[in-house]
Each structure stands twice: as structure tokens, then as C-alpha cells.
């Protein structure tokens, strides 16, 4: 049985279709991604899974239960990392973990050692008696993530988990998430970081304007919607646009961006050579593998981070 089953899931705010009749399933132990730019409907979808935002129409089952009808039971098995940290600023760091566990009805005898473990996990042991307001952005994020683990959830909802974390902290978090996944925890991750989606997700849906525009594994999506390699060339911001027509013949597909032009080809180096032979000398050039960013650009005509 899927742990999450959404069918024609819709949320409207007045005229705005925040989530527009999306359907998807998540299987147990899977690491599932929702990818899309800000405003695509990712966070709304996450909140509907927890039953804290009421849907407009469609059906949704989490562990076979409707979160609107059996919210408390559904959330007992969830760990939620919201997009914006909502730590309790009137409590100290360690008390945030303990009190959150109390909301789950867990006893102090379990929560005290658990809080210490989680503080260590979040590398915040020395900050355990610190007021939340005195923690840095990254520390708050780590505390929020630690808090979501207090009930040893079977499903972890992570809404842009690494936003605001430095690269080292991101890699540590990814490592911890891998370990949870190995223990059979289902991960549901929203992100607009492509590398994060590629690192973390077995399967993902790409969302735009509340709709699903593509679904598959990261490799699968790249294969379907992009070429193997991408050549990025810069001619200076005033010349990029002017050269687009001339560059078009060198690649399967071309994507002019304000600061650079992307040429999609299976062999980037060879394409660069051909461009140079034609007398065009870019200021800088870069050949790289195709990524989910390219998939997104192809599907929506927009970058993920505006």
C-alpha cells in the first residue's frame, strides 16, 4: 500500500489555483521529491499531507487515512520540517525538542535522552540552553530538523530543508537523511536546488503553477528532457541575444539566458570547437553534464531560482 496517495488534489485561494488537480503516489521507504520554483504549490501540498491546510477538492490518504478526518493519527507518524523555521522562541533550544515531544504525548523519561541525542545530531550540544533567538540561521534550521525527528517518524516531510545552510552543513544533513532512508523512513522533500533533488530523490515530480509537468527519477527526467551535455557560452550581456540565431545551428536546442547561452548537445566539447571554428569566440565557456535545472528550463521556460 502506498504511504501517500493523492488524487486530483486541489487547493484554491480565491482565484488562485495553488495546487491544481495533482495526482501522485509515494511508496514506503521511497525518497520522493517535489521540485519547482517558488509558488509552484510544493509547500501547500506538504501542508495538506499533514492536514494543517484543508484541501479544496480531491482525495488524499496518508498511511491509508485522510489527514482532514484523522489528522492527529496521521501526524503521529510524521516529522515535519516547514519551509520557515517555527521554533518556539519562548523556550530554550533543548526545551524546544522536549516540549515538541510532549505534543506527541511522549514521556519525559524518553524525551530527555532523546533531546540530548538530537542536539548532538544537530551539532548543537553546546547551545542546548541557548535562547532560540540567539542561534544563527543555520543553527535554527538544524534545530528545526532535529525537532522533526523527536518522534522517530516513519514519514519525514522536508520543505526546502537546506535553505540557509552552508555547503558543509548541507552535506552533513544529506548524510543523515540517507541514514534515515536506510532505516526505511519515507522522505518527502521539496526543493528548488537541483543538486539536492539529484542527491536525495529516488523519484520526483516537477511542479509549475500548481500542476505536475513531469515525473520520474532524476536520471530518467534528464534522459527524456535534455541532452547528455550542455555547453554554456558567454559573449557579454549585450551580445548574447544577438548571436542566438547564429548559434542555433550548432545544437539540438538552444536556451538564451540573460547572462549566457546554453547549447544542448551530446558532445559539448565538439560543439564548442565547431562554434570557435565559425569565428565566434566566447568570453567564457563551460561544458557540463545535463542536470535537472535543464529539465526544468525545458519544461517551463524558466529557471528554478528567479
Amino acid at each position: 500500500m502506498p504511504v501517500i496517495e493523492a488524487s486530483e488534489l486541489t487547493k484554491t485561494y480565491g482565484e488562485l489555483h495553488a495546487v491544481d488537480a495533482i495526482s501522485f503516489e509515494v511508496t514506503p521507504g521511497e525518497s520522493f521529491g517535489l521540485l519547482g520554483p517558488n509558488g509552484a504549490g510544493k509547500s501547500t501540498t506538504m501542508r495538506m499531507i499533514g492536514g494543517t491546510t484543508l484541501r479544496t477538492s480531491g482525495t488524499l490518504l496518508v498511511n491509508g487515512l485522510d489527514p482532514e478526518v484523522r489528522g492527529p493519527e496521521v501526524r503521529a507518524n510524521l516529522g515535519v520540517v516547514p519551509q520557515q523555521d517555527n521554533l518556539d522562541v519562548e523556550l530554550r533550544a533543548r526545551d524546544n525538542l522536549i516540549m515538541y515531544g510532549r505534543y506527541f504525548g511522549l514521556p519525559y523519561s524518553y524525551l530527555r535522552p532523546r533531546a540530548d541525542d538530537l542536539l548532538e545530531f544537530a551539532q548543537l550540544t553546546e547551545k542546548s540552553n541557548e535562547k532560540v533567538d540567539n542561534l544563527s540561521g543555520g543553527m535554527k534550521r538544524r534545530l528545526t530538523i532535529a525537532r522533526a525527528l523527536v518522534n522517530e517518524p516513519r514519514i519525514l516531510l522536508l520543505d526546502e530543508p537546506t535553505t540557509g545552510l552552508d555547503p558543509q552543513a548541507r552535506h552533513i544533513l544529506w548524510d543523515r537523511l540517507f541514514r534515515l532512508k536506510e532505516q526505511g523512513v519515507t522522505l518527502i522533500v521539496t526543493t528548488h536546488f537541483m543538486d539536492e533533488a539529484e542527491q536525495l530523490c529516488d523519484r520526483l515530480i516537477v511542479m509549475d503553477h500548481g500542476r505536475i509537468v513531469a515525473e520520474g527519477s532524476p536520471a530518467d527526467l534528464i534522459r527524456r528532457y535534455s541532452t547528455r551535455e550542455v555547453l554554456e557560452v558567454r559573449f557579454g550581456s549585450d551580445r548574447n541575444a544577438a548571436l542566438v540565431d547564429r548559434l542555433r545551428s550548432f545544437a539540438d536546442r538552444i536556451e538564451p539566458l540573460p547572462d549566457r547561452v546554453l547549447l544542448y548537445a551530446d558532445d559539448g566539447e565538439r560543439t564548442l570547437e565547431a562554434v570557435r571554428k565559425d569565428g565566434l569566440v566566447p568570453l567564457t565557456s563551460l561544458v557540463r553534464r545535463s542536470s535537472l535545472e535543464d529539465v526544468f528550463l525545458r519544461l517551463t521556460g524558466r529557471s528554478l531560482i528567479d
Binding site: R70, G71, A76, D88, V89, L91, Y103, G105
Partner: protein, 276 residues
């Protein structure tokens, strides 16, 4: 079969409603409230206690020295301070309850995002609301206890019945808090929240708090008597001197009905308030 039942929207019946909106763990919200009070919020607790005391000192003793004695419940002459002291207690119970159930809830909901955190756990809207109303009543209890001690110490009470002002302050607080939370569910901006103050201030000024309502034309008197604070003030005043009439039951009944209706109203609005 059960899968079919699960798919329907929150069902009818009390049990289905509770399953959707409560884990029965409102106690954890109360625990959090006490933890916060222990940590830092004694200042706020104290500020709420001093407000009626300052009113009593300035108006009761200051202005009262110009006024002398006035007719209290049953017509006996009492000092002006003894006349307004019970009214100030009723007003402070109202203000504290309204502050906690409107501004405080609004702020924690929209700006501190405290409730979003709570609602991501098994806690449901019912647990959060019940826990917060309990905390509001606890604060109201502390204020009432302190203020009753102050006015008894100043010799402004003449009956042991004055002790009953403490539980009655809680009943008044419950009536206002339960209604206030429901009203908050309709508000989205601070400007709208200001309307609450605009409604409360004249109620404090004119509900026979500082002078008897007999100064008003009869139509105005009827209007004031329809409002809750007047009943609270009259009830407190009767308790402070231990003078009871049939109207005592009317005042008491007013707040019982107001609390029941308020709790019902808030309960209906809980999902609109907390789940969006």
C-alpha cells in the same frame, strides 16, 4: 469499508469531530504555557496585575476623596473606592481574557507561527484552543487572587462572600475568552484587531464601572444592560458586600450562557482559525 469511510470529509457527530481535531493532549499545551511563565514571562503576569491596582489608587482613593460615599448594592453607603474596586476586578478579568484570546492568539498564529509548529504534531485545533484558554484562565486566576487580596487588605470588602469574586472572575474570563477566540478567526490584519479595543473601551467606561447607569436615559440603560460587562460589574459588586437579589442569578446565568455559546462558537470556528 473503512477506507470508504476515511475518504469522507470530517463526519457528523461529536466523536468524528474529536478524532479529526484532537489528540486529547491539551495538557501538553498547558505544560508549555507554564514552562514559558517559569522562564521569562513574570513581567507580563505582573503588568496585568498592576493595571487595576493603579486605577483603584488613582480613581478610588484620589477621585474618591472628592466624591465621598455612594450608594452600594442594597442602598447602603460605601466609599467610592469600595464602589469601583469590584468593577475593576470584573474589567480586569475581561481585559486579560480578551487579550489572551485575541491579540495573543493572533500574534502566535500569524507572526510567531507557534501554532503551526504545534499543529504539525498530533495536537489538533481543539487541543491548542483548550490549552490556551486554560492558560488565559490561569493568568486571570492570578490577577483575581492578587487584586482581591489588595482590596480586602484596604478594607474595601465587607463580607466573606468577597472570596467568591475569584471563581466568578474566572467565569467572566471564560465567557470573554471563548467568544474572543471565535471572533479572532475572522480577522486577518492588525487594523481589524483594533476594533476589539474600540468595542472594549466604552464598555469599560459606561458599564456602571465608575458611576451608576441611572445617569443615562432609560433606552441607553437597556443597551448597557444587554452587554456582558455590566452583568460582571453588578455581580462582583454584590459579592463584595455579600448582598444578593434575584438579579444575582441573572448576572451569573448571563455568563454561564455566554460561556456555553462562546465555546460552541469557537469550536465551530476552530478549523477556520487554525487550518487554512
Amino acid at each position: 469499508m473503512s477506507a470508504v469511510v476515511d475518504r469522507v470529509r470530517p463526519g457528523s457527530g461529536l466523536n468524528a469531530w474529536l478524532v479529526a481535531n484532537s489528540s486529547g493532549n491539551a495538557r501538553a499545551v498547558v505544560e508549555r504555557g507554564f514552562k514559558v511563565i517559569r522562564n521569562q514571562n513574570w513581567v507580563i503576569v505582573l503588568s496585568g496585575f498592576f493595571e487595576p491596582v493603579f486605577y483603584l489608587l488613582s480613581m478610588g482613593l484620589g477621585l474618591g476623596s472628592l466624591i465621598g460615599t455612594v450608594a452600594g448594592p442594597g442602598g447602603q453607603q460605601i466609599s467610592y473606592a469600595a464602589f469601583i474596586a469590584p468593577a475593576l476586578l470584573a474589567t480586569s478579568a475581561m481585559n486579560g481574557a480578551i487579550y489572551d484570546s485575541t491579540w495573543n492568539v493572533f500574534f502566535k498564529l500569524r507572526f510567531a507561527n507557534l501554532y503551526q509548529g504545534m499543529l504539525a504534531t498530533p495536537l489538533g485545533p481543539f487541543d491548542v484552543a483548550a490549552g490556551e484558554i486554560f492558560m488565559a484562565l490561569f493568568r486571570g486566576f492570578l490577577y483575581a487572587l492578587g487584586f482581591t487580596a489588595v482590596i480586602a487588605g484596604m478594607g474595601l470588602t465587607t463580607s466573606w462572600w468577597a472570596l467568591a469574586m475569584i471563581p466568578v472572575a474566572l467565569l467572566i474570563a471564560l465567557g470573554f475568552a471563548s467568544l474572543g477566540m471565535a471572533v479572532t478567526s475572522y480577522f486577518t490584519t492588525f487594523q481589524q484587531m483594533d476594533w476589539i479595543n474600540i468595542a472594549l473601551l466604552p464598555m469599560f467606561m459606561f458599564s456602571s464601572t465608575l458611576f451608576p447607569i441611572s445617569v443615562f436615559p432609560e433606552a441607553v440603560q437597556w443597551f448597557i444592560m444587554a452587554l456582558p460587562l455590566w452583568h460582571g460589574v453588578e455581580l462582583m459588586r454584590q459579592l463584595s458586600v455579600g448582598h444578593f437579589e434575584a438579579s444575582t442569578w441573572l448576572h451569573l446565568g448571563y455568563f454561564v450562557v455566554m460561556s456555553v455559546l462562546g465555546i460552541g462558537f469557537t469550536t465551530r470556528r476552530l478549523r477556520s482559525l487554525f487550518l487554512r
